[in-house]
Amino acid sequence: MQFHLNGEVRLVASALLGAAVLVSPVHAEDIVLKMWTLDNSGYKEFIAEAAEAFKATHPNVTIEHQIFPGDPYKTALKVALVGSDGPDVFFNWSGDRAKQLVKDKLALDITDFGNAPGGFAKVLPEGWLDAFRYDGRLYGVAADAVSKYVFYDKAYFAEHKFEIPKTLGELGNLCKAIRKIDPNTVPMPLGNKTRWKAIHWMTMLNERAMGVAGTAADYDLSRPADQLYTDPGYAKAFQALVDLQDAGCFEDAPNATEYAIADSMFATKASPMEYCGTWCTSGLDAAGFTDYGFFRLPLMDGGKGSFDANFLVPEGYQVSAKSAHPKEAVEWLSFLVSDEQGLKFAEKVQFLPSNAKLVDKAQGVPASFKDIARDVGTLKQGVNVLDALLESTVADAYMNATVEVLNRTLTPDQAVGKIREAALAAQAKK
């Protein structure tokens, strides 16, 4: 069979073809943005869905997302950023790590892109922007924050008529009471084998002893050398940890216990409390444990800390200085912290998003998540974690000193001495 087109039909067909060519959008250059993040539960799905949604406004941009476990990520990121095939955008913690990348000119100044219409700086509150602000310029976008609370088994507390402690002394007494019921029950497992669990304790114990203002000049090494880390509050904070250990709060060998074991001891109700991060809620949820409450770390008797201050570590994204597409990279990050994506982030990742405008509408999250989000919203001061905040050698000395205090191979005063030694060396090198 043959089709013959007469002249008019041919003319119309040609006109339609011509029109189709004219109206079809001119495809911009195809852009692939490489993104690196941690492998937190739900992250992959969140980014995949967001990347798909981003295509509505940026059809030519494809997001290539890679995830990494925490510790290897820290090394892999540095290697990749120095090399030629690194990510365009990447996750980072606010604090010393992000600052170092700024100093080494590996993280891009994104202030102008962020302040453009629709940019993240127009959406996020100033407090959140501060997380990645250095010398008045923005070098990252805060995406979320993690906080820490003492989680407790509500049923266990109700059964034994325990009340939420208001001071660290009361917390110690609570541990003693739990041990009295069953000496084999570990009241609040620590799990410090990888050293970061106890440094989280020290972060808050320092605040409870000296307040945020009292430590700031030591942490950033700006205090004169003869006064650096000389506040007796540091030893007092270590002593508080020792007192809790003496009260039987922790397991026998905290420095040999994996954090995952400690987490599972609380999740399986073998232990009635755990000082755990907001990231723990999804794990507890997955383990089917929902009947838990939480409270902020109690105050120290005679300490200068404030109950309005709590552990709060902002995390977010930075753009590589080597990215060939910085504008699109920042547009993508601005999209990720928009109202709608903030809600989706809360639902999928169950972390507290920097843009929490719609977080109350979050569905499929444990009830505790919204309660925690509300509590974080009432904080007047965030306390950044020592291992992210301090210069790396000082942070390492702090972690080792804490291990030794728990092992009783150093007294609190000796531990502070070691930290001061590392701080003085770091200050001299500055």
């Binding site: 540095k78 120095v82 420095n255 040999a256 216990t257 001891m265 080792n400 092992n407």
Partner: protein, 305 residues
């Protein structure tokens, strides 16, 4: 005879330097040489050069500091702690792995008549498991809360260490030795067993006729017979002991509080945690020179073997 491709220096009476055979041998070796060059020699050269500079992992500038990184190592107590831990691991590994391997090999060669293949396979099995997997399995075994070792010790009416097997600075290094021995003793056993089985039975028969049995036969026949194998096994273990990294990194991370820090993990910490790449390079050079010397010794002795 293959024709010479270049001047053969035949007139001078010296051997030809280049002929078809040499060329084809060189061509066949080229891929391996290129890989060795790219992945070993060039990085080693860069490490040597880098050891004379001060630079961070992400910093763009290198500052020449001469021998300052080496001087720093000499005065760094952690460097010496790492070296002494390496030496402890080397000596402990030679005793546990070569010594243990020799005993097991002797038992399998002489003591066990039935099922020796089964025993040999079982003992050799950990050798083929990755070090990381071995480390994770042992971490669970040694866990103070849920590990079976604590449960066994308690069942026997004894007290497990208060700070945990891997949390007590006085015990943790011994635990690393134990794990390394568990993983590697099978390899040494196989090596020594092969040496034992290569000794002709006639030697023992002849010695027996002359009245040399038991310890005398071991001293005059077995030991000389496996001497070269023992030297080789010892050298392999010594080099492994100096290079140890993965097992320590995964099980203790060099802790508690640096108690199990070895040169490999300390170099890693300085490079990737503290960003002291120049200093890390200097320590890597120390490790490189040690390993190269031992490697050279190994090659010499294995030639003799």
């Amino acid at each position: 005879m293959a024709p010479s491709l270049t001047s053969t220096l035949g007139d001078t009476g010296k051997r030809p330097v280049l002929n078809a055979g040499n060329i084809s041998a060189s061509a066949m070796m080229a891929p391996a040489l290129i890989l060795v060059g790219v992945f070993i020699l060039i990085p080693a050269a860069v490490a040597v050069i880098g050891s004379f500079f001060d630079f961070g992992m992400t910093s763009a500038t290198w500052t020449f500091v001469g021998g300052a990184n080496y001087r720093r190592a000499v005065t760094d107590p952690l460097f010496w702690l790492a070296i002494s831990n390496n030496i402890f691991i080397v000596i402990g590994s030679v005793v546990s792995q070569v010594g243990g391997g020799a005993i097991l090999a002797a038992i399998l060669d002489r003591g066990i008549r039935r099922g020796s293949v089964v025993y040999r396979t079982i003992i050799f099995m950990p050798v083929v498991i990755s070090s990381i997997a071995v480390a994770f399995v042992w971490m669970l075994i040694l866990d103070p809360n849920v590990g079976p070792l604590n449960a066994i010790v308690k069942t026997l009416g004894l007290s497990p260490p208060r700070l945990g097997w891997l949390g007590d600075p006085a015990i943790s290094l011994w635990m690393l030795l134990l794990i390394a021995a568990w993983q590697n003793v099978g390899f040494q056993m196989m090596l020594i067993l092969a040496g034992l089985q290569a000794i002709p039975k006639e030697h023992y028969e002849a010695a027996s006729l002359d009245g040399a049995r038991g310890l005398k036969a071991f001293w005059y026949i077995t030991l000389p017979g496996i001497r070269n194998v023992l030297v080789l096994a010892t050298l392999i273990t010594v080099i492994g002991g100096f290079k140890v990294f993965d097992l320590v990194f995964v099980t203790t991370g060099g802790g508690p509080a640096n108690a199990t820090q070895v040169l490999g993990t300390y170099t890693y910490t300085q490079a990737f945690s503290f960003g002291n790449m120049g200093y890390a390079n200097a320590m890597a050079v120390v490790l490189l020179v040690t390993a190269a010397l031992l490697g050279w010794l190994q090659v010499r002795l294995s030639r003799r073997a």
